[in-house]
Amino acid sequence: MFYREAGQFKTSYSADQAIFPIRQDRLGLLLLGLVAVFAVPALANNYFLETIFVPFLVFAMAALGLNLLTGYCGQLSLGTGGFMACGAFFSFKLATAFPELHIVVVFLLAGLGTAGVGVLFGLPSLRIKGFYLAVATLAAQFFLVWMFNKFNWWTNYSPSGVISAPPREIIPGFFVTGNEASPAAKYVFLLIFVAVLALIAKNLVRSRTGRSWMAIRDMDIAAEIIGIRPLWAKLSAFAVSSFYIGISGALWAFVYTGSVEALAFQIDRSFQVLFMVIIGGLGSILGSFLGAAFIVLLPILLNNAPAALGIPLKVELISHLEFMIFGALIIFFLIVEPHGLARLWQIGKEKLRLWPFPY
């Protein structure tokens, strides 16, 4: 009823190929954007901004990167934590070695560096596949974290191996990292940064490159026969994915926590991002955001629910229950909708289109 595209005619190819061909989608997105930019920082308190919105955006970025590799190109990777560490430490070295460099440039350069590392560790994908590849990417995970932990050069010889983000401004007087940065400033900066990169990703997967990734994912032999070079497609997927993941690592260290040690990017981090991608929906940009929201919010929600409902439970019991419910919910979701939240959203849209009629 409300969501019907009847009467919206496409009169040009470019209109037909638009990212959001339906007017309601465009309006909805615009509204969401306005709410996110203006209403959220105005209404949400620092707790919400600092512990929900900021990590959500950082994780969404990482999930987006992994989704490009795993969801679109079909290469299962468990090295996400290692690549995030690359981004964090590269940007720390860049930011401290060249203090005059603008922070966005630092992030982008760190992303590029991570892309290089990603290509290097993507090379085995030319020969091994599936779970074997997943475990092989674990080599990257363990090696990278070990390297950043071991060599003091990465931390500017800090005696403990912890890096602290130096204060940087995005525009003069508007700090996004360091002590003076306000949560709202961090949030708005992240929002715009992530939104722009997500838009680029969305366009990328609709391009020739993205199509070649999906061809490799669906059937690599057939893809090769129709003229797609597996070498180029796989390595470009590793590069672009690592670029996004690297930036998310840099954002994690600089904007979210402010100080970080290599052990923050342990294997758990890789799994966490993989959950987001699978729960959100493999091969969906929107899914990356939904998955990140789900994984970031659910534990906090479960943890706060008993107190909010006034049920007095011991913290350890809450925490155990949280584990159990989290596990049970993952299984439940996979049984109900193995293609993730993004698929649920699509089904919802279909239903909305027909509503109030059954078909």
Partner: protein, 338 residues
């Protein structure tokens, strides 16, 4: 099976040679870089310690292989099954039961768990892609972690079933100071060997074992000749649960039964890729190679780069093997070219 046996034989013949070459290489390194330390007695000691350690990895890897072989599921929850099994057994011992009785009861609990997993998780997800099933096992991982701790608490627990722990020194007249062997590791290795032998007999000669191999070969064909797929799955998960219990006892009496036990699953992954996901001998040989390789690397190469390299070294070693054999040492050969 015959081809595997032949390959196994060739490897066994090569092993002493490889060890000698490795030792000579390290000796050479120690001559070049005087900060490194090398004697043959010490080298053998490290190697033996590594091999014994490797058997413990194999025990964990074995659980993965059983499930992957029968159902194609990469069971991420194996680590938490190890923890859960060990916690349950300690729980029963703390109730005052003798450890053999506790073992039997804990094994029973693992069988029940397997049946529940099959009914609640696996059955609704038949025919889903592997990655989805993999995710589901991660769900099981979280659930078991929470459940085990709710039931038995998060305290560290002592599990002692009377395995000797004293160091032994062998061949004292050949090498200066003898070669130190940890008697606990030796016992653990023996238990591991017995378990593998029992499993091999079980799969080779029993009816269930044959059915299981049929299922592993081809689900549909097995179903069409009347093999009950679901029963087989429940049995495989039960066996994997019991293997987890044995692994849990071995690791638990080494380090105490606590949450960290779930993390040893990570040590089994390089063993798996090295040996191949579908091969029981692969898990054993892979465990031995990874165990020996990482100990030798840590002891003799670690000082060059500042140590603590055994974690990634195991993966790098496995990766190196994979580049030459993409299906692992004993994995099923799938012929395809890309």
């Amino acid at each position: 099976m015959n081809a595997t046996a032949t390959r196994f034989g060739i490897w066994m013949a090569l092993v002493p040679l490889l060890i000698a070459i490795l030792g000579l290489g390290l000796q050479g390194l120690a001559i070049i870089d005087t900060s490194l330390f090398f004697t043959w007695g010490y080298f053998l000691e490290v190697l033996i310690a590594g091999l014994l350690q490797g058997v413990l990895y194999s025990l964990v890897a074995l659980g993965f292989v059983l499930i992957f072989k029968a159902s194609g599921i990469f069971n991420f929850a194996q680590g938490s099954m190890v923890l859960f099994a060990a916690l349950t057994m300690v729980g029963f011992i703390e109730m005052g039961l003798h450890w053999t009785l506790a073992f039997i009861l804990a094994a029973g609990v693992m069988v029940v768990l397997a049946i529940v997993i099959e009914k609640v998780v696996l059955r609704p997800m038949v025919n889903q892609p592997h990655i989805i099933l993999f995710m589901a096992t991660i769900g099981i991982f979280y659930f078991l972690d929470g459940f085990g701790q709710t039931l038995w608490g998060s305290d560290v627990k002592v599990l002692d079933i009377g395995i000797p722990k004293d160091p032994m020194f062998v061949l004292p007249n050949v090498f200066e100071g003898g070669i130190l062997i940890n008697s606990f590791d030796l016992v653990a290795a023996l238990v591991g060997a017995v378990l593998v032998a029992v499993l091999a007999v079980f799969f080779q000669y029993t009816r269930v074992g044959r059915a299981l191999r049929a299922v592993a070969d081809d689900h549909q064909a097995a179903l069409s000749v009347g093999i009950p797929l679901k029963t087989i799955w429940a049995i495989v998960w039960s066996v994997a649960g019991i293997v987890a219990l044995v692994a849990g006892i071995m690791w638990g009496s080494k380090a105490g039964v606590q949450f960290s036990l779930a993390l040893i699953a990570l040590k089994a992954l390089p063993v798996l890729i090295l040996g191949g996901f579908t091969s029981i001998p692969g898990a054993i040989v892979g465990g031995l190679i990874i165990g020996a390789g990482e100990q030798v690397a840590e002891v003799f190469l670690g000082p060059l780069v500042g140590g603590a390299l055994q974690d990634w070294f195991a993966y790098m070693l496995a990766l190196g093997f994979l580049l030459f054999r993409p299906q692992g040492l004993f994995g099923e050969k799938i012929i395809e070219r890309i």
